[in-house]
């Protein structure tokens, strides 16, 4: 994948003497010491990261960690004190006024925490704002705005004012306003933080749907680790203006780079982050349809298990047989497995989160089987691996591994 955004050694200092503070920062002074001696606030301290085209990149941190400052450097609402912000190969920091306006009009759009809607305009007026600024003619921009409003589920509300809407609906308008411009990049500054939990979940799902359809490059800010891990292809964790760790959610969860992230990770609901593919393993025993009952019994005895999955050609899952059925079959002189196949096991895809597997794992007598879209067996999940997957750090899981 090609790099869409590349941020290199970005520093943002607020105050009247940024040069001095920058020098101190390079000399290795701490953020607090700089604030106390020079009165300058270091917002972002030497941040570097890149975002691929079409990637969902989440920046997570507590309030005051500099994440909102950082995202505002990506469309120059905040002018970086030093460093580069390269978008599609061009350093936007070097843009002149006209280039910057064009960049903001066409390439990047922003969604705000408190929506930032224009309360004096109707929803339609809000959504067409970006197009209006670009001098697109009235009929065309209204048509685009109407379509975009419909796509976020606000058909019939076009001529209402934003204040007449609930928070969730207002943020849909915020999203529609950003999408109407058809930007490559969506910057989302804690867009769901002001919403209540149920609505937040709906919006998250909807955003993922939109993302899979439109393939925008998204930079998303949040302070909620569950949200970060649910949405992000990759996550960067910020602290005191620095990026302390970045990687995919699984990496961060299992290899937190320092105590700060460990604390963060502790608070996460792991059932919502860990997927079937993270905890499934290759089955110790498998039998093929061509094998007979006796092979099945042997396999089960060798591995000390009471049931075994049966696969056909190319690992296609056929069913499961139990030791009792097999022994019975031998007594009745049956040798084919076909009649013994049972299908009352639970089947799942590799992207399923454990939260949805928990109940079935406790109910089912058999391990959960993981298959792909073609019904090919990828692995199995036994109850113990779900439990170990839920334990916080990987040092603990190793002691209980089976």
């Amino acid at each position: 994948m090609s790099k869409k955004i590349e941020v290199k050694n970005l520093v943002k200092i607020f105050g009247s003497k940024p040069k001095l503070a920058l020098k101190r920062l390079k000399d290795g002074w701490s953020k607090d010491k700089i604030l106390n001696t020079t009165g300058q606030t270091v917002g972002v301290n030497n941040a570097s990261f890149s975002v691929d085209d079409g990637e969902f990149f989440v920046i997570m941190g507590l309030s005051g960690s500099g994440k909102s400052t950082l995202i505002r450097c990506l469309n120059l609402l905040n002018m970086p004190t030093s460093g580069e912000v390269i978008v599609d190969g061009e350093d936007i920091v070097k843009f002149d006024k006209k280039q910057l306006r064009e960049f903001r009009q066409k390439k990047v759009a922003m969604v705000f925490q408190n929506f930032g809607l224009f309360t004096h305009r109707t929803l339609l007026g809000n959504v067409e704002y970006g197009l209006e600024i670009r001098n697109i003619d009235k009929d065309k921009r209204q048509q685009i705005a109407l379509e975009t409003l419909e796509s976020v589920g606000l058909k019939g509300w076009e001529y209402k004012k934003p204040t007449e809407l609930s928070g969730g609906m207002q943020q849909r308008v915020g999203l529609a306003r950003a999408l109407a411009n058809d930007p490559d990049i969506l910057l989302m500054d804690e867009p769901f933080s002001a919403l209540d939990p149920l609505i937040r979940r709906d919006m998250q799902v909807e955003l993922l749907e939109i993302q899979s359809k439109l393939k925008k490059t998204i930079v998303f800010i949040t302070h909620d680790i569950n949200e970060a891990f649910k949405l992000g292809d990759r996550v960067a964790v910020m602290k005191d203006g620095k990026i302390v760790q970045q990687g995919n959610p699984e990496d961060i969860l299992n290899n937190p780079s320092d105590e700060y992230i460990e604390d963060f990770v502790k608070s996460i609901d792991r059932t919502k982050v860990i997927q079937a593919k993270n905890i499934m393993r290759k089955p110790n025993a498998l039998v093929s349809m061509k094998d007979g009952v006796r092979v099945a019994i042997k396999e089960m005895q060798a591995n000390d298990i009471s049931s075994v999955f049966v696969v056909g050609e190319k690992m296609k899952l056929e069913g499961i047989v139990t030791i009792d059925d097999c022994v019975e079959a031998v007594k009745n002189k049956q040798s084919s497995l076909k009649d013994l196949l049972r299908h009352d096991y639970y089947k799942t895809s590799e992207d399923e989160y454990i939260e949805h597997l928990l109940e079935n794992a406790t109910k089912s007598r058999y391990p959960i089987v993981v298959v792909n879209d073609d019904n090919r067996l990828l692995g199995i999940i036994v109850r113990t691996s779900i439990l170990s997957g839920l334990l916080p750090s990987n040092s603990d899981t190793e002691t209980i591994s089976f």
Binding site: R104, K106, F118, R177
Partner: protein, 282 residues
């Protein structure tokens, strides 16, 4: 011991006086130009107002009150303005109104741009603050003196003094309104690539409008009170009648012109207030 020592006396007034005289001599052209502009606006406004027949004027006031508020208000205002006519002060009322309208128009033209600019520019705002405080708290009579020196007697100095007295709330509230536009809304405007001008016209001013209108309402009311006072330097209108009544200790005449001013003030206040309410959108 308890009195302030004589030999420490300082008289700032003479410097101001020197400044005013210096301005009069060196900026005669400027004041002449100003006189022309003010005269042009006042007399045109007056022409328009006197061109409207009295019954049509009453009807207009009624419709304004009715459309903006309610039938009852419309009727109330119509009765008030009719009473002014019955008292016999119609022409004076029209003249006072035209001075008020002129002053307000010029105050807005001066006040709103300064207000907008000082919202963006902290240094200008720092300079404006004490100046505006001074302009508002200085007894209004004091303005009459330099106004008289610059422009002589009559309508023009009255308008000038009225503008000086009534512009501060317009500047102040415009500046406040622009600064109060939520930061995220401003950011949103810029994030979509607005120029400064577009952000001002399409987002900041519409957002600021209710507060700016409240400022204009205040400006209008201050102008109304100043117009009466400025009759002391020869402005015609209702104030002149008050002045004459004072000189003659004529209670009846004092009451008649006083109540006419009250009626006019009420109507102007309500109408501008209702216009500003039309801009409320939050």
């Amino acid at each position: 011991m308890n009195t302030f020592p004589d030999f420490f006396q300082f008289d700032p007034g003479i410097y101001v006086e020197a400044l005013v005289r210096w301005l009069t001599i060196n900026f005669q052209g400027f004041f002449d130009a100003l006189t022309t502009i003010i005269k042009w606006v006042v007399f045109n406004t007056q022409d328009v107002l006197t061109f409207i027949p009295w019954f049509l004027f009453i009807l207009l006031i009624f419709l304004l009150g009715w459309k903006l508020k309610s039938l009852k208000s419309g009727l109330g205002y119509a009765v008030m303005i009719t009473l002014v006519g019955l008292i016999g002060l119609w022409d004076e009322m029209i003249f006072t109104l035209s001075i008020v309208i002129t002053s307000v128009i010029l105050s807005i033209i001066i006040g709103i741009p300064i207000g907008i600019y000082s919202a963006y520019n902290q240094r200008l705002e720092g300079l404006m603050k004490p100046l505006l405080d001074g302009m508002q708290t200085m007894p209004s009579f004091v303005y009459l003196i330099p106004a008289m020196i610059f422009f002589g007697l009559g309508t023009v100095p009255a308008v000038f003094a009225t503008i000086v007295y009534s512009t501060p709330p317009c500047i102040r509230l415009t500046s406040l309104a622009i600064k109060r536009v939520p930061e995220e809304m401003r950011e949103a405007a810029y994030a979509f690539g607005s120029s400064r001008w577009q952000a001002l016209i399409k987002v900041e001013l519409p957002q600021a409008m209710p507060t700016i209108m409240a400022g204009i309402n205040q400006t209008t009311m201050l102008a109304m009170s100043m117009v009466v006072i400025s009759s002391m330097i020869g402005a015609k209108g209702l104030g002149e009648n008050v002045l004459i009544a004072i000189n003659r200790t004529d209670i009846a005449m004092g009451f008649n012109s006083g109540i006419s001013i009250v009626f006019l003030a009420i109507i102007i206040d309500r109408v501008t207030q209702m216009i500003s309410q039309k801009y409320e959108h939050v």
